[in-house]
Amino acid sequence: MTSRLDYEIIAELINPNARVLDLGCGTGELLCLLKKRKNVHGAGIEIDEQAIHQSIEKGLTVVHGDVDTELLDYSSKRFDYVILYESLQQVLHPEKVILESLRVGKKVIVGIPNFCHINGRFQVFFRGNVPITKELPDQWYDTPNLRFLSIKDFQSFCNRHKIKIEKKRALSRNQEIVFWPNLFAHVGIFVLSKN
């Protein structure tokens, strides 16, 4: 497995032996890494059948279903962390999913693609196109993304809902971004909690 800085950052943010629920776990790479690095007890939810086969092949526990509905089944504070990585922009009701995640998990780790990266802004400003970049390669008509947001948008969302951002990290192509993340980062990672 090639090392991915984003996965490594998430592994850093998580305490050892934690109980983790990965929403939209895909083929289970992140969960697998967290098991190896932090010995987490994890489960995933995934909608795609082939991805489930691959997750189960990795020895993971995965439930086949929709994040929006499957999340409702868990009792409160059942997990130490609920992870929404690269999946939030694809769920139908992100607001509901974040709030439910904060109910089910003591902490929630959210990773979002930053649609206001400088490359994208250039494309909007000079070319008048909706941005197509290496990180966001899909055309408007075939993108799996339902929501388009920036790191700043996400922070204002948290303020509005009185969600505490405990930690935030940002990165661009395997490099961590410290300055002006909303301009220079492709991905923002947040650790959230709510009383």
């Binding site: 489960a43 059948e49 489930i52 086969h53 189960i56 092949e57 020895g59 993971l60 526990t61 995965v62 439930v63 086949h64 279903g65 089944d73 868990y74 009792s75 059942r78």
Partner: protein, 373 residues
């Protein structure tokens, strides 16, 4: 290359002999009880590699391999054998005929030792729980303290669920395929049509037909209805469409026109030869009585369950559709039980669990590996 099991044979034990007997869920008693079973592979020295396979309504103990002088292998032969999903190079596989069956385990066609005649309708009504209690007796006889897994589809899946609840410490993992936690009105309705077909056949004679002509028309019809529920609109469409039987145009009479008609008739006719009509009544009744949440909520029912679960369903299975197991998965999640689930895309309807081998094999093989301690 995938090898096969080769020649296998059915064995039998008899238990609950006087003065013992089995007290059934109905309160009635039964004994002695003969259990027909087959085993494949080798039990390891610490007896930790045993897997019990539970069969569906018309199944039997002959799950895999060939019987001597037989051309057709057991009903799950594509899943059980060396290198297959239930790998007999690694696991010791056990499958037994259910209580009430007609393939070697005591059922209505067995001889009642008190009267020296077949039980017929004097056989007590049995339930899924009773079937599981009898299987447990077999596992005890084989001197196995803990099963690595219990697995089954359809009625087999119901037995798996009952195992996990009745004997939580005895099973490591549960593989539940294409089933439900309780029969719905629609599922009961289809069974009732089958039972009425049998019981209105004059040859049924209140279940006393063992020395006469059996109710072939009735059980044939029951099987035809059953078979429709095991397929899907798509699989029937693909297999038969509107194809006619050896004719260019419809006959404008009431002879058989369409291939699907002759196929169902053929299914019904061949079933008569291998299945006892009374057993069909008893087993279909056991399915209809099955309801895990009759006294407690599913959450409470699964409270003491210890095993890991793998739940498999199929997209085109309209007899036991995926959504009916959602409440069970929820109950497992709430009880903090390790549960994985997968709805496999398949067009074969309920029969997918017997046909859709690749997808199921992947999931089961990897799940069994994960739960091997």
């Amino acid at each position: 290359m995938i090898k096969n099991l080769g020649i296998v044979e059915t064995k039998q034990i008899t238990c609950f002999e006087p003065p013992n007997h089995l007290t059934l869920k109905s309160g009635l008693t039964l004994g002695p009880i003969t259990i027909a079973y087959e085993t494949y592979g080798k039990l390891n020295s610490d007896k930790s590699n045993a897997i019990l396979i539970c069969h569906a309504l018309s199944g039997d103990a002959h799950a895999a391999g060939l019987h001597k002088n037989d051309k057709k292998p057991g009903w799950w032969d594509n899943m059980i054998g060396p290198g297959k999903a239930f790998d007999t190079d690694k696991y010791f596989i056990i499958c037994s005929n259910v209580l009430g069956g007609c393939k070697g385990t005591t059922g209505p066609s067995s001889i009642n030792p008190d009267t020296k005649k077949p039980y017929g309708l004097s056989f007590p009504v049995v339930t899924i729980k009773d079937m599981v209690v009898v299987q447990k007796t077999l596992i005890d006889y084989l001197n196995i303290q803990k099963l690595h897994a219990v697995a089954g589809g359809s009625m087999g899946g119901m037995q798996v669920l009952k195992w996990s609840i009745l004997y939580p410490k005895m099973i490591n993992s549960a593989i539940v395929i294409a089933t439900n936690t309780g029969h719905t009105a629609q599922q009961i309705a289809f069974h009732e049509v089958g039972r009425q077909a049998i019981m209105t056949d004059p040859n049924w004679n209140n279940g006393n037909y063992y020395d006469k002509k059996p109710p072939s028309t009735g059980i044939g019809l029951a099987r035809m209805v059953g078979h429709i529920t095991y397929m899907s609109d798509e699989s029937m469409g693909k297999k038969f469409g509107r194809q006619l039987i050896n004719k260019q145009r419809v006959g404008f009479d009431f002879s058989q026109d369409f291939q699907v008609e002759s196929y169902l008739k053929y299914r019904g006719d061949t079933f008569v030869q291998r299945f006892d009509a009374n057993s069909y009544l008893y087993i279909s009744k056991a399915l209809d009585y099955f309801n895990l949440s009759e006294e407690k909520s599913l959450e409470e029912v699964f409270q003491n369950v210890k095993s890991s679960f793998l739940v498999i369903t199929f997209t085109s299975d309209w007899l036991y559709p995926t959504h009916q197991l959602k409440s069970m998965i929820k109950a497992l999640k709430i009880n903090d039980i390790d549960v994985s689930s997968c709805e496999i895309k398949s067009s074969y309807g309920h029969d997918s669990f017997l046909i859709e081998i690749d997808g199921q094999s992947d999931l089961i093989r990897n799940f069994l590996r994960k739960t091997t301690k």
